[in-house]
């Protein structure tokens, strides 16, 4: 007799039959019927129609039947809220039952019925159960508070349940403590600021005591809670570590990893000279190694975390390379993670072993894994200099196998090896060239082309090789096209006499026949460089390349420190802070490692020690990316976006002029054909022109002397939120053109390239007038200043606040979003002076309710000074009057979108006690007034 009998149906219809059985007089028949209902439910069948019949079976002294009915109730109460009320009485009665099992069951089930009306009735029984004499009931009630909070948070707070829950942390029973901690942690997650888990040395002590006595799951909750605490000094940190260390040998891997998190975090506070520090380091290795002998799913999570731990404290696992060796039947997700860690642990001491392994992996079946193994060999060469030669010969062996994807990967990594060790391994170029024809992946083709261009002088038939790629130029991917363009220019600069035709061909392919702005821009730049100053061209194109970093894929230190605080969580699996992926608007508090505080130093001011998010003004980084993402991502950020055509394109033809003649002088031959003016297709002229024009504006953009007031640069995007990219900036308006002056700083460990910028739709249609041009890759710790020209012909959408600008910046690492407020005066146009008569008429015409009054405090300026200051920011004085010793300035300004704003500025000169200015603004669009006033204040006070 098995439960499968519950699935058999009859002709009459299942529901009908069940209904009859549920209402049967016989207990046994009833129970069997409920079981059938439950069975249907488990496989996803809708049996909600039986709700009243099932609830009728609830009043019973048969515990199994009661439990089954409860199971049903929990599933369907939400869809039948009115019917669910019928069950309340039984619950309330059961909460008074002498059997603690029944009391607990009742309070547990009630909490699972997610119906608002029922929650009111739940409060009283819950209050009793939280104070029940039986700890089993108390621990169940603790969880029930979390359930109730999920349904109605306000109710839980009003009823004081949170305080009762906090009291339970001091309960005598460890299981009650653990559940209270778990419930509070879950509630705290939806109220990040609420300080629910107010930890102090006393409560920590209670938690540590409960830690030793509660179940494995309770230990996880307690350890995760401990990890949020910041000890007041190193002595406290050490004493907590000592009491947590025994958890490292727990059989449950989640307990182990949570303990590792606490230790990794608190270790930060210990001095490295301490004996205990060394002891702790040694104790951390065995549990981590043991995690790798668990089931593959556990291994995967462990490996993702070990990846972080190895980056933070490489000394812990430096001798444990072998446990990361790949077994051939490991799942692919485990293999790839192990490989990553092997490279991180590779050092001179173990490189021979590692290489032998990697070579073995390169002959495996799984293509993804083989590729990664080949790449890993290249990374070893770059990381461990002594092994480079061996790595190169291993790669050459692999190329000999002629396995297509192996060859391609090998060529990609050899290119990096050439970069790292110039003039050392070029003897292998001949071997590489043999495989030219078999390369069908863009990355490999681009790498090979790079090699040919870079070493053109040593490759006799470099021109033939490159020419062969040129035939199918337009079918190549952008990556290959760009590389080919550069390589041919390099070749030309090295062997000008033989390759002029080739370079001409590629320049015309890139500039005339391509729709890709990236390619066209680069083509024109080369073209112009070659034509104006071939020596400079040589210096630019054949410049010494910056070194490539030894480690790739390293996580920036700030992010790494944050992720260490999230060991064992999903954040650690994704290597992203929770703020980057946690659902919805639930704010996430940034965690950071505690600073090291020695006990003798900190006794006086312990309050200053705890780490938290740095206080002070935080730039407004867009938190919920919902609709913004939609807007920004619809547009292709891939290639730099060229803005909509500028209205004034005075420079557009300049580009063409410059392209003449110059090349002839370089080559000295008569045959070089000057590109005809028509080479620039008419429809592409405008963006092209603007692109070139800002090449020349680059230097003049910063440090304006005249023009509108320019605020000092503020940090818009802190490095912590953008994987090491820090952006600060300001806005300028100069002779009619608006620009965004940016300062990009690379605070990460890797080189940044491929920058692009995009604005979200905004109130005044601000948009980049040209792509973001960062010419050289941005090396670590390098800063670059860029002036990005803007126009106001982009799409318009009213923003809140009005002058809010949401910006997306892309680089080779990721896309980042931030928002900033621009000062409105950058939108004040030069022809904003209104005729006197017109002014009077307009002032009268605009209804009085559109007038807004402001005070600008503490501004000791006379009328002349104010007037001239404002004029330089395009606020024009139309008339001036003196009324009863007060100066009245009547002013006008016009915004880029044609909106006029009229102003009356009242100044009381010579009154040192009254230095406030009064400003009345009238405008047909009164919502701009506050921002105009703000602009006034900014201009007048600076």
């Amino acid at each position: 007799m098995t439960d499968s009998k519950y699935f058999t149906t009859t002709k009459k219809g299942e529901i009908f039959e069940l209904k009859a059985e549920l209402n049967s007089d016989k207990k046994e028949k009833k129970k069997e019927a409920v079981k059938k209902v439950i069975a249907s439910m488990t496989v996803g069948k809708d049996v909600s129609a039986l709700f009243p019949d099932v609830v009728n079976c609830m009043q019973t002294d048969n515990l199994e039947l009661k439990k089954l009915v409860y199971l049903y109730l929990m599933n369907y109460a939400k869809s039948q809220p009115d019917m669910a009320i019928m069950a309340v009485n039984t619950f309330v009665k059961d909460c008074e039952d002498p059997n603690p099992l029944i009391r607990a069951l009742a309070v547990r089930t009630m909490g699972c019925i997610r119906v608002d009306k029922i929650t009111e009735y739940l409060c009283e029984p819950l209050r009793k159960c939280l104070k029940d004499e039986d700890p089993y009931v108390r621990k169940t009630a603790a969880v029930c508070v979390a359930k109730l909070h999920d349904i109605n948070a306000q109710l839980v707070e009003d009823q004081g349940f949170l305080d009762t829950l906090k009291d339970l942390i001091s309960d005598s029973n460890p299981m009650v403590v653990a559940n209270a901690v778990a419930a509070l942690s879950e509630i705290a997650e939806s109220h990040p600021s609420s300080n629910l888990l107010d930890l102090n040395p006393q409560s920590i002590n209670k938690l540590l005591t409960a830690l030793n006595e509660c179940t494995e799951w309770g230990q996880i909750f307690i350890l995760d809670c401990l990890a949020n605490y910041t000890p007041k000094d190193d002595r406290e940190a050490q004493s907590i570590c000592e009491r947590v260390t025994p958890r490292l040998s727990h059989a449950n891997s989640a307990v182990v990893l949570s303990a590792v998190k606490v230790l990794m975090k608190f270790m930060e506070m210990l001095s490295k000279d301490l004996d205990y520090y060394g002891t702790l380091l040694k104790k951390l290795a065995p549990p981590l190694v043991t995690l790798l002998s668990a089931e593959p799913e556990l291994q995967y999570v462990a490996l993702r975390n070990i990846n972080l731990i190895v980056q933070k404290r490489p000394e812990i696992l430096k001798h444990e390379m072998k446990v990361f060796f790949v077994k051939y039947n490991d799942p692919i997700y485990v293999k790839l993670e192990k490989l990553d860690i092997m490279i991180r642990l590779a050092s001179q001491a173990n490189i021979a072993q590692v290489l032998a392994e990697l070579k073995e992996y390169a002959t495996e079946v799984d293509v993804d894994f083989v590729r990664k193994a080949v790449r890993a060999i290249g990374r070893c060469a770059i990381k461990v200099e002594q092994s480079a030669e061996r790595c190169v010969s291993t790669l050459l062996d692999l190329i000999q196998t002629k396995v297509n994807y192996v060859v391609q990967e090998a060529i990609v990594v050899i290119k990096d090896i050439f970069r790292k060790y110039p003039n050392k391994y070029e003897s292998v170029i001949a071997t590489l060239c043999e495989n030219l024809d078999s390369l069908d992946e863009p990355e490999a083709r681009a790498a090979m082309i790079w090699i040919v261009g870079e070493y053109a002088e040593r490759i006799d038939n470099a021109d033939e090789l490159l020419e062969s790629f040129l035939e199918g130029f337009h079918d190549e991917s952008t990556q290959v096209q760009l590389q080919l363009l550069t390589a041919i220019v390099k070749l030309f600069l090295k062997k000008p006499t033989e390759t002029q035709e080739l370079v001409q061909q590629v320049l015309s392919l890139a500039t005339q026949d391509s729709d890709n702005p990236d390619l066209r821009d680069r083509g024109y730049i080369y073209w112009r460089l070659l034509s104006t100053d071939p020596v400079a061209a040589k210096e630019v194109v054949l410049a010494e390349k910056p070194l490539i970093s030894e480690e790739t894929d390293l996580i920036e230190p700030t992010l790494l420190d944050e992720l260490i605080c999230y060991i064992g969580t999903l954040a650690s699996v994704y290597h992203k802070p929770p703020s980057a992926f946690v659902e919805g608007g639930r704010g996430v508090v940034h965690k950071s490692l505690p600073p090291r505080t020695a006990s003798n130093e900190s006794t006086e001011s312990p309050e200053t020690a705890p780490a938290g998010p740095p206080s002070g003004e935080q730039p407004d980084v867009i938190p919920a990316q919902g609709d913004l993402l939609g807007d920004l991502l619809n547009l292709d950020l891939g290639p730099p976006v060229s803005g909509p055509p500028l209205a004034t394109s005075s420079v557009q033809m300049g580009a063409v002029d410059l392209l003449g003649g110059g090349l002839d002088s370089l080559i000295g031959g008569p045959n070089f054909v000057t590109p005809p003016a028509a080479a620039v297709p008419a429809n592409l002229g405008a963006p092209m022109g603007s692109g070139l024009s800002d090449l020349f504006d680059l230097t003049s953009g910063v440090g304006t002397l005249s023009g509108s007031y320019v605020a000092p640069k503020a940090v818009w995007l802190p490095a912590m939120k953008a994987k090491g990219l820090e952006i600060s900036g300001t806005f300028t308006r100069q002779v009619g053109s608006i620009s965004m002056d940016l300062q990009l700083t690379n605070k990460a460990l890797q080189v940044m390239t491929d920058f692009a910028i995009q604005f979200n739709r905004n109130s005044f249609g601000l948009a980049p007038a040209a792509p973001l041009q960062v010419h050289a890759p941005l090396s670590p710790n390098q800063t670059v200043e860029i002036s990005l020209p803007l126009n106001t012909v982009g799409s318009v959408m009213k923003m809140e606040p009005l002058n809010n600008l949401q910006v997306a910046v892309k680089n080779n690492i990721d896309v980042f979003y931030f928002s900033t407020l621009y000062p409105l005066h950058i939108l004040f146009v030069e022809d904003g002076k209104m005729e006197r008569q017109m002014f009077l008429a307009t002032w009268k015409d605009i209804p009085n309710e559109n007038e807004a009054q402001f005070q600008i405090r503490d501004c000791p300026l006379n009328a002349e000074a104010a007037s001239s200051r404002l004029q330089s920011s395009n606020i024009f004085t139309v008339a001036k009057r003196n009324v009863e010793g007060q100066d009245m300035l009547y002013q006008s300004l016009k915004l880029t979108n044609g909106i006029w704003v009229l102003a009356e500025l009242r100044i009381q000169p010579g009154n040192p006690n009254f230095m406030d200015l009064e400003l009345s603004l009238k405008c047909r669009a009164p919502e701009v007034s506050p921002h105009v006033c703000q602009a006034y204040e900014t201009i007048l006070k600076n």
Partner: protein, 401 residues
């Protein structure tokens, strides 16, 4: 915490769902099915899958995917450990964990799952306690229940639930008091072409079956252990794992077997030669038995014509899996398997060399040298019957060729 659980078979049918909070539509599993489709084999489905509103964490056991749905930041190991506990519990309750068995016991399964989590928080995961709450089905009990109308749901709070020893129920009584311990060690090793050890480690466990009356306090004394060399504990009732341990690759691990192999493909010929011999190495004088050699042959191998000196062998031309059940190794007459492989005509020789997977058992030996010296019992007066067994097995034991 853990929101829901879906059980999915390898053909992609959801055959059970359980929700501990609000009901999550089973359409969330579509993301899992996509990942399942992308993965070449069931084992390769990634254990953590993000969806727009949930995360799916899964384990694959007994040809069933146990897929947990979570909505907030929950430690993934916590979820995966819990899923393993679910698998263990099913196995404990029904003897095997398989789709038909779960379907046959769907109500008990549902009742048990309900006891294991409350609102996604673990409630009762110790098998001792669960069995007191929900009695495992037996044929006898089903019959008795049907006649007497009694149920398989306990109506008393499990006694161990809140005591300082939550893992042991009180009032245990046996007429024969006995305690058996199995020390089982598995060797995970990678051996390279030339026969030298690349890495070798030992995963050890001590499993126990303790049937003792009352509240006994046991002390095991070991030969090789940390400084004190003793382990003191109050045992759960019945079968349980006392501890697991790990001897890392940094130690010298004895390798009890070797494999001599010669597998050669030639470019010109459509025939390859295959020969392997298995022999004992460091066995401390014990016999190696239960030897099974398996190897995934390259795709280019069409068939194999082999002769074993002992045991039986099979080659599946579809999956290319070679399996040779050797049995015992007689040191005087080493088992060997030799013959030819027929390769695809005209194709170039395979890129990869097959790896040989080895299984074996050695009775009465713990290869790490761990030894239990004595077992003492305090707290109870009677004299229990004690026993200890040792066994060494191959874990992931791989020989590259």
């Amino acid at each position: 915490m853990i929101h829901s659980l879906f059980l999915i078979n390898s053909s992609g049918d959801i055959f059970l769902e359980k929700h501990w909070k609000s009901v999550v539509s089973r359409s969330v599993c579509d993301y899992f099915f996509e990942a399942q489709e992308r993965a070449t084999e069931a084992e390769n489905v990634p254990p953590v899958i993000p969806t727009p509103h949930h995360y799916l964490l899964s384990v694959y056991r007994h040809k069933i995917f146990f897929v947990a749905v979570i909505q907030t930041e929950v430690p993934p190991l916590f979820v995966i450990e819990f899923l393993h506990r679910v698998v263990d519990t099913f196995q404990d309750y029904f003897g095997v964990c398989s789709e038909p068995v779960i379907k046959d016991n769907v109500v008990v399964v549902y009742e048990v799952l309900e006891e294991m989590l409350d609102n996604g928080f673990p409630l009762a995961t110790e098998s001792n306690i669960l069995k007191e709450l929900i009695k495992p089905p037996t044929i006898l009990r089903t019959v008795v229940n049907t006649i007497t109308g009694s149920t398989n749901v306990g109506d008393q709070l499990p006694t161990g639930q809140l005591s300082v020893v939550p893992w042991r129920r009180t009032g245990v009584k046996y007429t024969n008091n006995e305690a058996y311990f199995d020390v089982i060690e598995e060797i995970d090793a990678i051996i390279d072409k030339s026969g030298s050890t690349i890495t070798a480690e030992i995963q050890g466990v001590i499993d126990a079956c303790v049937k003792l009356t009352g509240m006994p306090d046991l002390t095991l004394s070991f030969m090789r252990w940390e400084s004190e060399r003793i382990l003191s504990f109050i045992p759960p009732d019945g079968n349980f794992r006392l501890l697991s341990y790990h001897v890392s690759a940094q130690n010298l691990v004895a390798i009890p077997v070797y494999v001599k192999h010669s597998i050669s493909f030639r470019d010109s010929s459509s025939l390859g030669r295959f020969e392997i011999t298995v022999g004992p190495k460091q066995t401390m004088g014990k016999t190696i038995e239960g030897v099974i050699v398996t190897s995934q042959m390259p795709k280019g191998v069409l068939n194999m014509s082999l002769t074993p000196s002992q045991g039986t062998h099979t080659f599946d031309p579809v999956t290319k899996m070679l399996s040779w059940d050797v049995g015992k190794i007689n040191p005087q007459k080493l088992p060997s398997l030799k013959g030819t492989m027929s390769l695809q005509a005209g194709a170039s020789k395979p890129d990869e060399n097959p790896t040989i997977n080895l299984q074996f058992k050695i009775q009465q030996l713990a290869i790490s040298g761990l030894k239990v010296n004595r077992l003492d019992m305090y707290g109870e007066k009677y004299k229990p019957f004690k026993g200890i067994k040792y066994m060494t097995k191959a874990g992931k034991f791989q020989v590259r060729t």
